[in-house]
Amino acid sequence: MDRVIGERIPRIDGPLKVTGEATYTTDISLPGMLFARILRSPHPHAKIIRVDVARAAKIPGVKAIITGKDAWGVRHGFVETPRYPADQYVLANDRVRYVGEEVAAVAAVDDDTALEALDRIDVEYEELPAVFDLFEAMSEGPEIHPVQLPDLAEPYKNIAGRCANSFGDVESAFKHAHLVRKDRFETQLRTHGYLEPQATVAHYDTTGSLHVWTSGMGVFRKRMHLSTALGIPDSRVHVHKAWVGGAFGGKIDLFSHEFCTSLLSMKTGRPVRFVAEREEIFSYFRHGQPMVVDLETAMDKKGTLLGQKVRCYNNCGAYRGSGAVCVFLCWGFIVLPYRIPALDYIGYSVYTNNPVRAPQRGHGAPQIRYAVESQLDMLAEELGIDPVEIRLRNARQKGEILPNSDPIGNAGLMECIQKAAERTDFCEKYEKNRSRQTDDSVLKQGIGMGVSSYFTGTLIYPNNSAAIVKLNDDGTAHLLTGALDTGQGAETILTQIVGQELGLKVEDIRVVAADTETTPVDIGSWISGLTYVTGNAVKKAAEEARGLLLLSAAKELEANPADLEIRDRRIFVKGTDKSISSAQAIARHIRENQGDPIIGRGSFRGLKDAAIGPSLKNAKGAWSDSYAFDVQVAEVEVDTRTGKITVKRALTAHDCGFPINPLLIEGQIDGQVSMAKGHATSEEVIMKNGMTLNPSFLDYPMPIATEMVENEYLHITTEEYETHKEFVTKEVGEGLVSGVLAAIANAVANATGIHLTKLPLNLERDLDKTDEGTGS
């Protein structure tokens, strides 16, 4: 049997997507469907004195209007723990805290009528002082939420989250250091840029079941949130599959429109659809997490890291969103790739009167890796050693243990650095570019390296995945999985795993996915653990089916099951022509087992010794079963007349365990390189007083086809896929966005001699400023 695993197999949903057959939430239209619109706050901070819907309700065609009164006290949050209770309202109650906060929602017979109704809802506000800058919010700003962290040691206000962790003798590290640098790095507010707008269709039927289609990143988490917010049991919320037109972290937990669309359907008994306008998404929906990083590093004269002091400040907006998680993750992404003997880390997430922020591909990694990798190059320059050497000196090696006691296993970081450097002639180009920084040339060339590392799933609801593999009478199979394919190719790689185990071609397997009623639970497409967690669940289910199939065949063939193999829907005694069809073996199993067709089931949960995920308060506790390591090299050209930065090519050397589908992995890399290029050079959501000033694709320049970056890939394989054994894959879909971001910044520095400490990199803005650090 040819291998199905490890092959460049085109995605199985390709034909549906190139013909327009694939149905996305925005494409769903049900008979009698109503159209929903949401009324939003025009103020960044105000008391709601009165909401009067009487005039709106009189408009013919308006079928239902809901306000905060319909959901008084209903709150939700990305995190919902005793330390970080849910703080966000599904509809504003007596106060609004950002421009765009949801105040009321309308369902009407058509969109025009719904819009007209919004105009006729009268809301009386009493404006309150607002604060937008995070440092102002920490010191003198108005209090945005009455409850603050009870154990906050510092006299700061508006702290939504705090993560502190330290180890080693930091004071001694800095005292005995040969070199100390302290720099501040700032990353901007960036948006996900998913093409499919946020959208939800809900239908509450006469049996009391709520059917929901929503553009999300995992159906089981959506079900949990909807059932909690609406006060109906899980079993009455049926989240259906719809293809997802991109998400990148921006569609994970509950959104107000999902609640409102559902409640409007419950009020009217009719299907309701909400589709966000692009301007709404840019202005009011959740973007990524902007971050200020104060990074102080102590180093010996050979370039060995002795210790670091890190303060991260995250402006999380008016509700906690994922802010408290992001400042934990920044800790994680600083301790992962390099050995740091002593660390003093505190991360703060700070409330301001800005829209709420969400995870965004890499979630903390781009922010912290940009800072660390930039400063590492600055330190290397001061010490007169090259970027490769300083990275090799500090890179974690196979078998090391992280500060939280997680082992990093067969980490391929050293190999990634060495191979990436060799392949790109890094040192030679780096020196040559440096020597040309000050010559007369107008176009400068730069090469830069960035290192990153990422976790492979952790424990957060729903924690686990399960799967069912059903064999059909003809020997083909169906896979039932809760996995939602957001474009990364989840259905394809899971199908490959079934094919590998059952000796089937990909086209002989059909997938039923992402349906809370018919498919088993799934961890979701957002915690970087799908291939590992769901993949192992699917593997076990397929193995169980295989075992039963071989047992039945063994009787027919009068052989030992261990001596059998499956090829193309036939079961052979290894090394002979003796065989029967899978169909015969299945029929025999049904006959001999009281009608039991062969159904395999499997389940998987990572971190088997941990009850919960790591502490967001102090970063203690197990975090993940495996970690990916990556090295990226970017080459840029800088036009010194205009400051224009062109990213010409990038190389990615990555350890993802073993590549199940190199074609799809390359696609993930391409997407991340492009996204990082945008983050590095052009993208920023510009806000003033809580208002978004550039709410369109024209004014928020994401990379276009003419700006494609040429990519090269080095797959460093450190694990194997074996029968009857859990496999270890490592993350590949989001961490890579951070290494290349750092690599681009370092390449620009290599071209110009200027280390820009603020993103997006803007040479025009910062041309007069050189290195802002306080290197000693």
């Binding site: 390709g14 996305y24 494409d27 492009s674 990379p703 086809a705 003419t706």
Partner: protein, 157 residues
């Protein structure tokens, strides 16, 4: 009366239907003819997801009023694969990994179809230029461009 009857020729079929004079072609295709392959990602002509062919030219259906295109031949993504057989471009998009979330794919494929009809052997730069108005956030464009080049090379080889 804002509503008026019009006849549209879409994918070789004539449709007579009532439209509001303000209705965009995209709205009529999606909500009245249920041809949802053309996507709305911005509604303001900035992303290319709603691209359709009008008399063989790739145009943005969100910027065109339905009443304007009565005497034209409109082709949507649903009209490309005759009898369920994918065109070489559609096949190449699948084989080369040019599709991820797929939301931009119909617009991309129609833009590339129009390009290859007009210029059977475009250079890489010409391909990139032609796709300039079609945003893709998933693929970085690499495999989309490879897929189009593969069709170009097969035709010319």
């Amino acid at each position: 009366m804002r509503n008026k009857p019009i006849t549209l020729n879409v994918n070789g079929e004539e449709h007579t239907l009532m439209v509001d004079h303000r209705d965009t072609l995209l709205h009529v295709l999606r909500d009245k003819l249920h041809l949802t392959g053309a996507k709305e990602a911005c509604g303001t002509g900035e992303c290319g997801a709603c691209t359709v062919l009008i008399d063989g030219k790739a145009l943005l259906s969100c910027l065109i009023l339905a009443v304007e295109v009565q005497d034209k031949k409109i082709t949507t993504i649903e009209g490309l694969a005759a009898g369920g057989r994918l065109t070489p471009l559609q096949k190449a998009f699948v084989e080369y990994g040019a599709v991820q979330c797929g939301f931009c794919s119909p617009g991309m494929i129609l833009t590339a179809t129009a390009l290859l009809m007009e210029n059977p052997s475009p250079s890489r730069k010409e391909i990139q230029k032609a796709l300039e108005g079609n945003l893709c956030r998933c693929t970085g464009y690499n495999k989309i461009i490879e897929a189009i080049e593969s069709v170009r090379d097969k035709r010319n080889g």
